[in-house]
């Protein structure tokens, strides 16, 4: 077999791929777009690790926290950095206030000169926000003059909101409550390793990728078979003019090759396009710069080789069951019955790969990534192998029913393989998604916990800054737009023995209205003192007896016991029943109204404000934050939500949902294409059926059954395999196996929905085909 002949045949096939007028082009383009979308997704996947690594690198490079206990002295190369992160609506803004202590102080990445006090440099996205009407409230809060922008090197994403402001006397603030540090360089090598991925999270990410990529692979395999029937006829014509069967196969391979190479080109185009688009979008609060998305060369080459190879392989495999005779294509009349055993080997093999890792997620152990990926892949491929067998067996047993049912069942019996192929992609996607949802639901407890905050009572809390006047601060918050109620609770802790802190009692100071947030009592007047009874006994009850003298806790640094303040529990102390405060905390000890509080104790209290907001006032949260910033620019009030979740976990989950939706849409599109192609081929038959009076409803229903039966079986199999995979994954993470029925139902529902949409979309063309024009022979 000479190379020349090979290349000649392949080239001929390539020409055929695009020959055949408009129809030929459409088919080739369709194939190419299908392959292209898959390739783009593959390239994106290979680029994501790089993008994440690049983000991490930049995050590290601008890190300004020293984790070492050692404090460095002021020098001409030191810089004081104070955190001033803030939140605007639901956006996080990274904020830092800088004060250079000498001429050699390090500049943060992306910044060319230190902003002077009262000035700031901002990221492009923040600048845009501040300049817009949307950002008016934030502008009030960040009351600095903008003198420049932060370069790409100083940002982890194109949409990141960040600023560096200049400040004065920051070291003094650091001694207070502000968080920050004095540093002599940016960047921290320790950061990366300290933030290592949790093995369970890593498992989730791996499985998400496999689950999203498998259907894409199935989709590519389906895409290269667009227009298969027509191609078979063309190959038969070639046989007629004298090409032998080997040549024919090579020509077919050439066709597939041409389509997939065009697909590669398109896919690269899609990818580059998507990369540029990536800069303008923000997904799950993560944005990237186009330059991040560089697929690693090895993986890119692998994609470039694997896709055409797979296309050719699929074509050759598809031709295996087809004898191309000169006078037409003969499908080997009775395909041998599908065998079960090797089909079962795949999922069983997958389980075998995963089995050794059961229980390893708990004790900080690690999963073998290759085994995980291999096992999950085998299980999912098992779906595509089992489905044709299952469809064949079930359909052969289906019996009586209406005409629509009969038409559909008979058609499925004759070509169950084609039907199974159509739904393979959806079945794989659904199986993977079910497994993942199960895994997520199972480990949800670990990563999402219901917070104890009672958001019906208060939605934000803020501390009164050190040294500030409590009443004035409360007044400022109360006057803030959107604040309905301010509850101020001041705390001081006292000990039962002078200079020791063995038994400590909490004293809560607040007016009567505020005290009702933490305890229930019959009546209250200013000057009252209450001993609080908790639901469970605690020893502070012992200290709350009238006449007990309580002492200020000694300060470690000062070491002096002499000037400690004491307070004696008054005789007229009354009883009150404890009640959880809005943070879910059960106050014990003693409650004092301000009138009963000795002046000397007042200085020791720290005050926390609970703010109840009016939900009808837009941006109430940001009005509060602005008020807080006016009081102390470095303190951000806390916003409560009823559920706290691990953010990275949430990101993966959202990613899965979006990815699954995209993959299903992609598969739905290919389903529609092949459906329409099939309908076109039956145009004449459909017309003649209409001629002798078949109702359109009957034909429409038969089309629906024709997809619904294999899809139903596919989803059943997908649910089974998905739940099995989910159970194994849960066992791997040592989480009790629970079937999350809502997610099983919703994923199968989405799969069924795709089929319904496809059927609905194919109805108008079906109705058009059923018009009697189809009977015309011209």
């Amino acid at each position: 077999m000479s190379v020349r002949q090979w290349s000649r045949d392949l080239a001929m096939g390539a020409r055929f791929a695009f020959a055949g007028g408009r129809e030929g082009w459409t088919r080739a383009l369709l194939t190419a777009v299908g392959v292209g979308l898959g390739v783009a997704l593959l390239l994106l996947t290979t680029a994501i690790p790089n993008a994440l690594a690049e983000r991490d690198r930049r995050e590290e490079a601008r890190s300004d926290h020293t984790f070492s206990q050692q404090k460095i002295p002021k020098a001409d190369d030191t810089l004081v950095v104070v955190d001033s992160d803030t939140t605007y609506r639901d956006l996080d803004v990274r904020g830092r206030v800088l004060e250079a202590e000498g001429p050699r102080a390090p500049l943060p990445p992306g910044v060319s000169a230190f902003p002077a006090a009262g000035e700031m440099v901002v990221s492009p996205a923040l600048k845009e926000l501040l300049d817009s009407d949307e950002g008016k409230l934030l502008r009030e809060r960040l009351d600095y003059r903008i003198t420049g922008t932060i370069g790409e090197q100083g940002l982890v994403g194109s949409h990141e909101l960040a600023y560096f402001a200049g400040g004065k006397g920051l070291m003094k603030l650091l001694e207070g409550s502000a968080s920050g540090a004095r540093i002599d360089s940016f960047g921290n090598d320790d950061l990366g390793s300290s933030d290592r991925w949790d093995p369970v999270l890593l498992l989730l990410v791996l499985v998400v990728f496999v689950v999203l990529l498998m259907p894409v692979a199935v989709f590519i395999a389906a895409a290269v078979r667009f227009g298969g029937e027509r191609r078979d006829r063309r190959l038969a014509a070639l046989r007629l003019v004298g090409s032998d069967s080997r040549m024919t196969r090579r020509i077919a391979a050439g066709e597939a090759l041409a389509g997939s190479v065009l697909g590669l080109v398109l896919g690269t185009g899609f990818f580059l396009l998507g990369r540029e688009l990536a800069a303008s979008v923000e997904v799950f609060r993560v944005s990237v710069f186009p330059s991040y998305l560089n697929p690693s060369p090895v993986l890119a080459v692998l994609v470039a080789l694997a896709v055409p190879a797979a296309a050719v392989l699929v074509t050759i495999l598809a031709l295996r069951g087809v004898v191309i005779e000169p006078l037409g294509v003969v499908r080997t009349a009775k395909p041998s019955r599908r065998r079960l055993w090797w089909r079962l080997l795949l999922p069983l093999g997958g389980l075998a790969l995963l089995y050794p890792m059961i229980g390893q997620g708990d004790d900080g152990g690690n999963f073998n990534q290759y085994l995980v990926v291999g096992g999950v892949m085998l299980l999912l491929i098992g779906v595509t192998a089992l489905l044709p067998w299952m469809v064949e067996r079930v359909v052969a047993r289906l019996g009586a029913g209406g005409v629509a049912w009969q038409l559909a069942v008979r058609r499925l019996q004759l070509s169950s393989g084609a039907a199974a192929r159509m739904v393979n992609g959806i079945a794989v996607a659904v199986a993977g998604a079910i497994a993942l949802q199960m895994l997520f639901a199972g480990v949800e407890g670990d990563y999402t916990r219901a917070s104890q905050y009672d958001v019906t009572r208060a939605q934000m809390s803020a501390d009164v800054p050190d040294g500030a006047d409590t009443a004035a601060t409360v007044g400022k918050y109360r006057d803030t737009e959107g604040v309905r109620k301010v509850t101020a609770l001041s705390d001081v802790h006292l000990g039962d023995r002078r200079g020791e802190d063995e038994s400590i009692i909490q004293i809560t100071v607040a007016d009567c209205a505020s005290l009702r947030e933490v305890a229930t009592f019959a009546s209250c007047r200013d000057g009252d003192v209450f001993a609080v009874k908790r639901s469970q006994y605690d020893e502070s009850e012992r200290l709350a007896k009238p006449g007990t003298t309580l002492w200020e806790l000694p300060d470690d640094d000062s070491g002096s016991r002499e000037r400690l303040i004491s307070w004696t529990v008054p005789r007229d102390i009354r009883q009150a029943q404890s009640r959880e405060d809005p943070t879910g905390y059960d106050h014990g000890g003693i409650l004092i109204t301000p009138g009963a509080l000795p002046e000397k104790l007042r200085a020791l209290t720290t005050t926390r404000l609970f703010l109840s907001l009016d939900p009808s006032v837009p941006d109430a949260y940001d009005h509060v934050r602005n008020t807080a910033a006016r009081l102390d620019p470095l303190v951000e009030p806390m916003t409560w939500s009823s559920v706290e979740s691990n953010e990275r976990y949430a990101t993966i989950r959202t990613g899965l949902s979006v990815g699954a939706a995209c993959v299903l849409a992609l598969i739905g599109a290919s389903l529609l294409v092949s459906q329409l192609e099939q309908l076109r081929e039956r145009r004449k038959l459909l017309s003649s059926l209409v001629a002798f009076g078949t109702r359109r409803r009957t034909l429409g229903l038969s089309v629906l059954w024709q997809t619904a039966i294999p899809i139903g079986l596919g989803l059943l199999l997908a649910a089974t395999v998905g739940m099995a995979l989910g159970a194994v994954l849960l066992r791997m993470t040592n989480t009790p196996v629970r079937v999350n029925w809502p997610s099983v139902l919703s994923m199968t529902g989405i799969g069924a929905g795709v089929v319904l949409v496809v059927t609905l979309l194919s109805l108008p063309p079906l109705l058009k085909l059923m018009r009697p024009d189809g009977l015309r022979t011209e």
Partner: protein, 229 residues
């Protein structure tokens, strides 16, 4: 309207255009119960369009069609479908048997569309297949039988509902003369004995010779040769 007395299906002044192409330009037609009428004419003359109009598959742009005293052109699509299901039968040149169904299921299909139970429909179908001498093909699929056999199955299917009119569009077009004549013989015999009218579109004289009279269509105009001579 000038309907010949006693006619079962009659049409007058039919006009139909597909885009710029005029298929029918004032054609007329009539047929009596039990009559076999051949529609002849060169290809592209509008024969098939005339048949499609008469059968209520296509609505003419103008003109009238009366079937059994009812105006077909003013019926709704559902009414016309019902008419085709219960009163008409169809035989086409090819592409009419559902490839997935067995022969007996194909023959039973029109009965099933009318709501007959599967068992009974297939029993009736089998009786017709016996009559057309294809009962031994009952379990075969159309892909497994010869052209002549398939066409006889199609004839059985056209007759299975005891229609009053059978429309046959080049029913022997894909057959050799021996098989073609056999199909015609069986079709016209069965039709005559059931008093079924047959509208037979053909360009073959020897097929047309099985008719009682012929109508010639040329350039969208029809000529009833019996009434002319």
């Amino acid at each position: 309207m000038n309907v010949p007395p006693g006619s079962l299906l009659a049409a007058e002044n039919l006009r139909k255009a597909y885009g710029p192409t005029t298929a029918l330009d004032g054609a007329a037609f009539s047929i009596h119960p039990g009559e076999v009428v051949a529609v002849m004419g060169p290809s592209g003359s509008g024969k098939s369009t005339l048949l499609h109009c008469l059968a209520g598959i296509v609505t003419p742009d103008s003109g009238s069609i009366t079937y059994d005293g009812r105006e077909v052109t003013s019926m709704s699509d559902a009414q016309r479908s019902a008419l085709r299901r219960s009163e008409f039968g169809f035989v086409f040149q090819f592409g009419q048997l559902v490839p997935e169904l067995t022969c007996v299921e194909n023959v039973a299909l029109p009965l099933r569309l009318n709501g007959t139970s599967r068992k009974e429909a297939e029993r009736t179908a089998l009786a017709w297949m016996e009559r057309l001498e294809v009962d031994e093909l009952r379990g075969k699929r159309p892909g497994e039988v010869s052209g002549g056999q398939g066409q006889r199955v199609a004839v059985a299917r056209a007759l299975v509902t005891n229609p009053r009119v059978v429309f046959a569009d080049e029913p022997t077009g894909a057959l050799d003369s021996f098989n073609g004549e056999r199909v015609m013989e069986l079709l016209t015999d069965a039709a005559r004995s059931a008093n079924t009218a047959v509208v037979l579109v053909t360009h073959e004289a020897r097929v047309a010779a099985y008719s009682d009279r012929e109508i010639v269509v040329r350039d969208g105009k029809s000529r009833d040769m019996e009434r002319v001579v």
